[in-house]
Symmetry: D2
């Protein structure tokens, strides 16, 4: 632990650590930094290179420790490094990347390098960069351009610095949100044409790729890793099962036992939330528009109601629909005092927060991410993260979940880079089931889980290859 921290005290480290994914969290070393923009600083790493732009290269040691801790929970990537290191499947790959820059993505980036790739990286979010981690990457020789608190202009400058380099031309893109892809497509059409493959993680980025493809303008193959089975299950069902309790506890210290909760939407996210809440003694109601999900909710032991039927009695309202205005001002008006309202869905439109910004209501910020909205009669509604995603704002995402995403990204890059010509056209693809299964298998050792192998006889009986894929392509 560095000298700077001794004076600051352990609590602050703690705070920062569990807020590391928060857009608004202050980095634990900000306070000791000067206010000069990184773009104006002259920094070199210990090997003399200045092919990067980070907040403070001196934080590298601390960032390295964070990366090492992350590596312990990302053994799938480490194991991938070992298995593929001999053959260097990414030798010759020149990857530009644009993702959150955290300890976990650092493990991904360094894995890509270990497999032979050259990487240049920027951040997909102006707040989410862990400056120490960026410093550690820069120290290790990665060309990283990112810091916490970039301006809009900084943001595009960093992206451009990744792409625009004399004597180096990217041939692969790893993107989260589509901004990098869009920049290359618009500003460097000649580079774009020669890209061998794009790997995109986010819903938004995937949507943009499909639009490009529909418009006939996607001239390179792209891999939609967002919809791989393994990633989906972890990002939705399991991750929400873990994070809903954590997000509520950290913000409100609410006791779950006996609480009446309504969960809007019983898709995978809703299923995860409900399972955890029921298990801890909450009484859960569901709203649904889709009869198939509604029937599942019934069979799983939840009453399916319209929101109006229970809105006066519930203690907590959670939205998981992907829809908009699911919780309206009318609903908010009818909630009882101290009712907690939050969003676990895919957008920040589910709760009509805008309708609460009216003169007769008073907002009181009681903690980070926690507002009391106060009605004229004194009734308070407890709004979390201003209606944005609770689990991103107010809880942590387990490293293990991030490991699955990162491994999926790495395999998608390897697949696209090494695929024989003609396997992938100018279109958007899902990860082949066999690779999806391979991602899963790389994570089994963490659980000390032992797979059974088919005998030849059994494989023949089932009409399957002994090594998979075991799922049909339409499985999800």
């Amino acid at each position: 632990m560095g000298a700077a921290l001794c004076g600051v005290g352990a609590n602050e480290v703690f705070l920062s650590s569990f807020l590391s994914f928060l857009a608004l969290a202050a980095s634990y070393t900000d306070s000791s930094d000067d206010e000069v923009s990184p773009r104006e600083k002259q920094q070199t790493n210990s090997k003399g290179s200045s092919n990067f732009c980070v907040k403070n290269i001196k934080q590298a040691e601390f960032g390295r420790r964070e990366i090492e801790i992350a590596e312990q929970d990302m053994s799938a990537l480490i194991s991938l490094r070992k298995r593929a290191q001999g053959e260097k499947p990414l030798a010759g790959a020149k990857i530009v990347g644009c993702t959150h820059i955290t300890a976990q993505t650092a493990v991904l980036i360094e894995t890509l390098c270990a497999l032979g790739a050259q990487c240049r990286w920027s951040a997909c979010n102006i707040y989410s960069t862990q400056n120490e981690v960026a410093a550690a990457l820069a120290e290790a020789g990665v060309a990283v351009f990112a810091w916490k608190g970039e301006s809009e202009d900084d943001f595009w400058w960093c992206i451009d610095r990744c792409v625009n380099m004399d004597g180096w031309q990217a041939n692969m893109i790893l993107d989260d949100g589509g901004d990098l892809t869009h920049w290359v497509y618009k500003k460097y059409p000649n580079v774009f044409k020669k890209i061998r493959g794009i790997v995109e993680e986010s819903v938004t980025g995937v949507h943009r790729l499909y639009q490009l493809s529909k418009a006939g303008k996607l001239c390179v193959p792209a891999m939609n890793v967002n919809d791989s089975v393994t990633k989906q299950k972890f990002d939705n069902l399991y991750c929400c099962r873990e994070s809903i309790l954590d997000g509520l506890k950290r913000t409100t210290d609410v006791m779950f036992g006996g609480k009446q909760v309504v969960v809007c939407g019983y898709g995978e996210v809703g299923k995860g939330c409900c399972a955890a809440l029921k298990a801890l003694g909450a009484i859960v109601y569901i709203t649904e528009i889709d009869p198939i999900c509604a029937l599942q909710a019934c069979m799983d032991g939840f009453r399916v109601v319209k929101l109006n039927e229970v809105i006066r009695q519930v203690d907590v309202v959670i939205t998981c629909t992907g829809n908009k205005n699911v919780v309206t001002r009318e609903h908010l008006d009818r909630m009882k005092n101290s009712c907690i309202v939050c969003n676990m869905g895919h957008s920040n439109t589910e709760i009509d927060v805008t309708s609460l910004r009216t003169p007769e209501l008073t907002w009181e910020r009681v903690r980070s991410q926690v507002d009391h909205v106060i009605w004229p009669d004194g009734k308070r509604v407890v709004l979390l993260a201003e209606g944005r995603l609770l689990n991103l704002s107010c809880s942590t995402v387990p490293t293990f979940v991030l490991s699955i995403t990162a491994t999926t990204q790495a395999l998608a890059l390897i697949e696209l880079y090494n695929a024989p010509e003609g396997r992938y056209k100018q279109d958007v693809y899902l990860l082949p089931k066999k690779m999806d299964e391979y991602v899963a298998s790389l994570h089994l050792p963490s659980f000390d889980a032992h797979l059974t192998e088919l005998t030849d006889d059994q494989a023949k009986y089932l009409g399957l290859n002994k090594n998979g894929p075991f799922k049909p392509n339409y499985y999800r």
Copy 2:
């Protein structure tokens, strides 16, 4: 309750009732019946018709009561009758059917009649017919040809009697297993050509249809209702969650608390079994060949092992793989005394029962469906249903589950019969998601579940029709 039953006593009724689906169960009225084959009897119903062939038309009243009891749990079909009765969507439909003949299918058949169809029916299994129900159908005017204990020759004779009738030509087929379809295809090619649609429920029947289609010989559209989402969830996950406990208790009276159980296979069937067993205090281990399912098992709190690792210590072994020889003689040799072995999968090949039929092992039948297989050293393995499906052999299937299947069949018939020309070609189709959702919605009132409706605004935001379908076609 008929006079015959008074002397027999309530227990026998009880026994028969819960064994009604057993292939080997003796009907509760067998004992009082003569031994004359129904084919040689002259019977007429109260309206003077003799257009049927059943065991004993006099049992109609008792069968009617069974049908009425079933109707109470099949309100979806009753509600379908009411909604569609005005328009008679099956007017003109001439349906030949071949299914189990039970109180529940009787509700289906009478629904089809109420919607305008003419029906002729036979049994898809020589043992499963409830004679009283067949009598009640015959009394109500349905041309039914079926009794419990048919010979192979009887079986085909009954099917033929349904198809081959002067002045009546079938235009729809409802099949369970494909035997009827095959018979029409082979024996009455001219009838087959003019069929407007085939609805098939079973895995086997569907497989045969796909083969026919591949061979280019399927000249009519067919609907695979086996793979509809709603039916799949109920037949597998939920139904197994209900029936695994019941099947084990009724056969062995085993206490679940603290029992060590290994479940082979963590697909939907395995997931249902594991959820129920864990909930009742069993300690459950999983074996899997597929890393994605294995990872789900881990996250759901089960240790994933190879069968050999736990075979010496477990109290119960349950197969749910669809595979063959999952439990081998070697495994059976290593089990501890009193270990229970049973199969919940899709075939009767999962346990290598044949390997147990060797001279050194003694078989002792201790109850119906329960054999003790005794090793020379006195060790006993408790084998249930000789390795056939436990939930079909040793527990009941809830009427509600059968209601979902029957409603799906009815809707598939309506869809195929009324589809505009060209919507369905000479191929095998899945039930459109919208109808799948409709089946689900018809079952929600049983749970007093209230669906939420999208506003126009929300529907537009989501890009959905307000009335569904809400699921993409590839959803499962």
Copy 3:
């Protein structure tokens, strides 16, 4: 039951086996027996003794097999036999017993004999004797006087034959219900005075002992084994968790998923029922009079309501209160069609069944233990076991639970018989915690459970003996 069933074989055994505890169940061999009273028969066992009175000594072999099967799940008693066989702690004990006579009690009786006791036994219930088991005991030399279907006169005659024998005087009593104790007390006061100890299992019997004690008429020490911790937990919480599902399924084939259930009473019995029902997907409501139990229900995730609030909407009503008229005619009038009503409590007074025996309601017996009570408007309420205990009437009690009771009884007899003079006065005692713990420890090997031993240092720190007792005497 007619001759025809002889040919059916296995099913009949199955039926009988799981009904073995039913007061009303017909024995599976009744049908082949003649109608001569056992009291008028001359029977001798293979060793020439006729010191017993059973239905048919020839059934001994079949009964022996049932006992052997029971032994497999009662390893605690078998282990007790082995541990204590050398010292014969019951040498000289002359025990008269009056309990249900089943395979499980036979294992107890033969354990007592193996430990040195001489036993004479009668049945505590005129219907519950398993004739084959009684025959097997008689064949093995136990003086047993019991058969299924005794008259009232037979009942007391059997008890008397146990006590009244020339040259043999009982010095220990094992009773279940207090009838034997009362008979000895009244008819053989001289014998009573010399009894060294009474062991009583039932609530009723214990109540009678306390009354005798209060009245100053209990001149011998008695052990209340009903209230031992281990037995209580198993008889209530765990046993009900196992049997509620079983009892409902066997009688009604109800699907649990999504069912709305109200459980009256949240004591140990209610807790067991609720845990199982919730786990299988039912939505459970609780009624309670006691705020402490009500608060527990809240924290465990159940809504606490008054019965009237939910009576119109629930699918199942279960009483677990020990109270009377918890479900009144008024409640019954308001239930919806097909509502199932049953009792898991300690008495048969919880549901006001008497109020249903009025002319305007029709009763229809649809299965053994299942009545439809039909209102003038056609509404049916499904009443199970006529309001008597569901788990005794309609499900089986796992042998393991009976093993705990039997082991507790055996240890209580050993303790009372061997206690130094003065340890027990003329009073009613609870089993010492140390012996309670010993019963528990004898059952751990079934689960392959491994206890940790305190180090000397830890024992000192906790102020405990390393071998227990670990619980204070007031623990329950």
Copy 4:
């Protein structure tokens, strides 16, 4: 903590809020306070009184808001205020108190005042005082002497200032730990003699009272509220079920799904931990010394093992035994890399932390309350809270749980103060069951739970008073 953070605001509040119970947490206003000891300051509240000693009276407004937030979850106390306000049952009571000084105890203190008492208060822990809350109490006129970070000398000075005041003599004591009681007993024997009752909450304090009583030196009645049923259930089973997940997540962000966990001890604390962990998908093993608890663990679906059997494979070790050296250096040596070790039991002796303070092991503090202990081969064990209680150190205690404790304390004070002479002697008493039930009933409205009332007839049948107590005194 640097100046930069002053501008951050909300995060710091958040941090402080959830750490409010931490002994080591720095108060959020510490940094801006001067270093003058409160004892040397001259402060007066807005009414001109200076009958208190707190850190900074100016923080009163902020503290008031914290109290108001706490009131929302302590409706039982508020309701008690309303019900008893008319009669002022504590009129004339002069209470000296020594407890943690937090928003929740402030609600208790102000309730006592509202019921007529005069209160003087100090802190039972030198670190746990919320300075703002103390200020708010002082501002409201309570004579409070407490601040965060008292020295040992300060601690006793504060206590003395409560007791020793001219013209005011305490007649009731509310204590948490026994320090205040001891001080009065030793220093002011004349005051002690005239005390009408002592209410003591902690295990330690109760132990000291029993010792005093045994020694014949307890000349006043005392109430042990620690062992009331309601409090026990909430402090142990339910509170631990809530806090184990929270404590682990906040310190380590661990994912629960699939984790192998061993819980040492299956008492109420262990049961609570295990229920939560199993529900979230962990695989849980139990160690036990007591066969009754071990048997419960088996029936609840946990494998009972010796610690050595699983120590190499588990991911988390949790102690809940109340014992010492349950986790030894030998166990720690054998744990796998990254294993998390923590204590939820009643003491800080369960893990042999001392054995880890040896030269060959490196300690690295990675977050507040989180140490990595590093073996020479690089293996890290993650030790939480240095082996002290995890839920006190690293998670929050729900206000609802504290409400139950506070209500129990208030009722105990009322009971002792108003009891007719002779009801309580110079001894230590448990809270009467009726009052225990009353505490529970006051908390039911939070859950919208509706108690059922016995009819006269039912009360008679059960031999109970309609208003309780419903539990026997020995119930726990």
